[in-house]
């Protein structure tokens, strides 16, 4: 329609008098300007909110992070200017290093486990089986419940004295655990049980951290499954049939067809899950009664404590910026590392 309008005058330029053509051009320009104006108008409400509450704050955080900002009245002079002082303090802080280490452990557990389970579930659900919808809804349920309610329930399940998790362990003849209150490493605990002394960095992430990681996987695996399932259904069935005629077994089908063709979906999930794990806050806050054991204090909790309990706003803003930078770099890296291996089935 609009293309036709643009082409029309050019196809018969000599038959139209110059004056009419100029008039037409002006009218068209006005129409286009009016359309553009309307376009900006339609975007305005969303754009305004986005800029005000999601984009500008990033720049203000950068500004704030350059000050020793504690409690202040004027937002443009939040305290003594200290340049990169907050960042210097951050990089030399043992507490920050530890919290970052905990976050990395947390991501290292939740991302692979979450992805593997999602692919397994999707693979199992990608068939015409009875009760498919029921399974899908059940697996997705945790994702729509509130994290606070879920954390309250899981804390009850993992309650050290009368929780059902320890009852199951006792029934299996295993010692009861402190779960979300356990600062000691999981490998150390296993070693203790088997009589092997393990200490230092070998003791691994704290059981508290692993407990929250398992809850976090429970929470998000349904979301990942739904997306992985959508990815699976885009793979043409003929491919499997052709391979089956060639005598390929189930594992070969999975390795040589499913996995390569699922890589775009997996990349998406990898990025989303990594970002999610680096931002995880609610479960840590709620399952540990707002005061996590040192082995489970992640960066977001450190930021919260610095910002809203100690009111080191400038320092907390710097933590946020560093977290942002890490997430940004990780996402970039994941895109780069996987791009060469991504296969699109077009």
């Amino acid at each position: 329609m609009t293309v036709g309008q643009a082409v029309e005058p050019r196809s018969q330029p000599h038959e139209v008098p110059a004056q009419t053509r100029a008039l037409k051009n002006t009218a068209r320009r006005a129409a286009r300007r009016w359309e553009a104006l309307q376009g900006y108008g339609f975007l305005l409400p969303a754009l305004l909110l986005l800029v005000l509450f999601h984009l500008l704050p990033v720049f203000y955080a950068l500004f704030l992070s350059l000050f020793n900002a504690r409690v202040f009245r004027d937002m443009w002079s939040p305290g003594p200017f200290i340049g990169a002082g907050n960042y210097g303090r951050l990089l030399t802080s043992g507490e920050f290093a530890q919290s970052l280490g905990n976050t990395v452990w947390f991501a290292g557990i939740t991302v692979p486990l979450g992805l593997v389970l999602a692919v397994l579930f999707a693979q199992l659900l990608n068939a015409r089986i009875w009760g498919r919808t029921g399974y899908r809804v059940t697996y997705f349920l945790p994702y729509v419940t509130s994290t606070v309610a879920a954390a309250v329930v899981w804390r009850w399940i993992f309650q050290p004295r009368v929780g059902v998790a320890n009852s199951v362990l006792a029934w299996l003849g295993l010692p009861g655990q402190q779960w979300a209150d356990e600062p000691r490493g999981v490998f150390l605990l296993m070693g203790q049980f088997l009589g092997v002394p393990i200490d230092g960095w070998l003791s691994g992430p704290s059981l508290a951290l692993v407990t929250v990681a398992l809850v976090s996987v429970w929470y998000s695996v349904g979301f990942n499954t739904v997306i992985a399932l959508a990815g699976l259904t885009t793979i043409p069935i003929d491919l499997y049939e052709a391979a089956r005629i060639d005598g390929a077994g189930r594992w070969r089908l999975f390795r040589d067809i499913t996995l390569p063709l699922l890589t775009p979906t997996l990349l998406f999930l990898l990025v989303v899950e990594t970002i999610r794990s680096f931002q995880s806050f609610d479960f840590f806050y709620q399952m540990m009664a707002a005061v996590p054991v040192p082995g489970a204090k992640v960066v977001t909790i450190y930021l919260y404590q610095q910002g809203f309990q100690s009111f080191n706003l400038g320092y907390a803003a710097a933590i946020g910026m560093v977290l942002f930078a890490i997430i940004f770099l990780l996402t970039l890296l994941q895109f780069r590392a996987t791009r060469s291996r991504v296969v699109y089935a077009d």
């Binding site: 203000y60 955080a61 509130s146 806050f281 609610d282 907390a316």
Partner: protein, 299 residues
Amino acid sequence: MAVASMLPRAVHLPRSSDVARHAILLGFGFLMAFPFIWMLLTSFKPFEETLASPPTILPMSWRPENYAEAWRAANFPRFFMNSAIISLTTVGGTLLTSVLAAYGFARLRFPGRDALFLVFLGTMMIPQEVTLIPNFVLLANLPCPIPVDTICNPKGSGWFDTFTAVSVPWWVSVFSIFLLRQFFLGIPNDLWEASQLDGASHFGYLRRVVVPLSTPALLTVALYAFVQSWKSFLWPLVMTSRPDVRPIQVGLSTFALENGTYYHTLMAASAFTIAPVLIVFILIQRHFLESIARSGLKG
């Protein structure tokens, strides 16, 4: 085999691989559902029974009064009301801004449109933790045109500690704009041409043709906004300090931290906290899951 082929198609006998499939799915399904089951079972037990070790599975005596007690133990009616106000305004705001922006991106042509769309998508990468501290400061410095204490605070603390602070910043959702744009792009152009002949403006066409045609997508956007708003925690935790405006997640959190050992009422409180979202989700799960799935495809 011969018998199976004689049976009607619908009753075909399960193959061994189907049995294994169901066994694994049921096993994990039980793990996924267990917290919900355990929450419900505990919520009906008397306090003494929750202390039993090993625990009873079914309550020995059913005690539905736990729900009434939990409901009264903290100001849950107030928290529910607050959450309803916050979530419903967020749904309304998100629908409005998303429909307009999605239409702009899908139908109108103007300079910088594609660049703006990329900027919109890019903001999805900004983690909430980065904007938390600056927004805490910014909100307190926003002007207060309507001096009602649940909307904004005229005494110098701006929007801090109000419904506005918890709700308005989330009236924009890039995910929803993206979803609706895809949907609007699928509406045939003939409809616009026909409306134009009838003298319809873009806004009239959007209101009378596009919106009525997009009910499934709008439903998804509405549910998504509702769920996100209902379950959000860190934001209202930081942006509010008084129970009058705090939503139910923060209320439940405080209640749980203060009554940490009364698990029978805690489970009852958890149950009624998640009930609204669970009901809404189960009612329209098909639309919702399909839209979520579609969003990942072009990731």
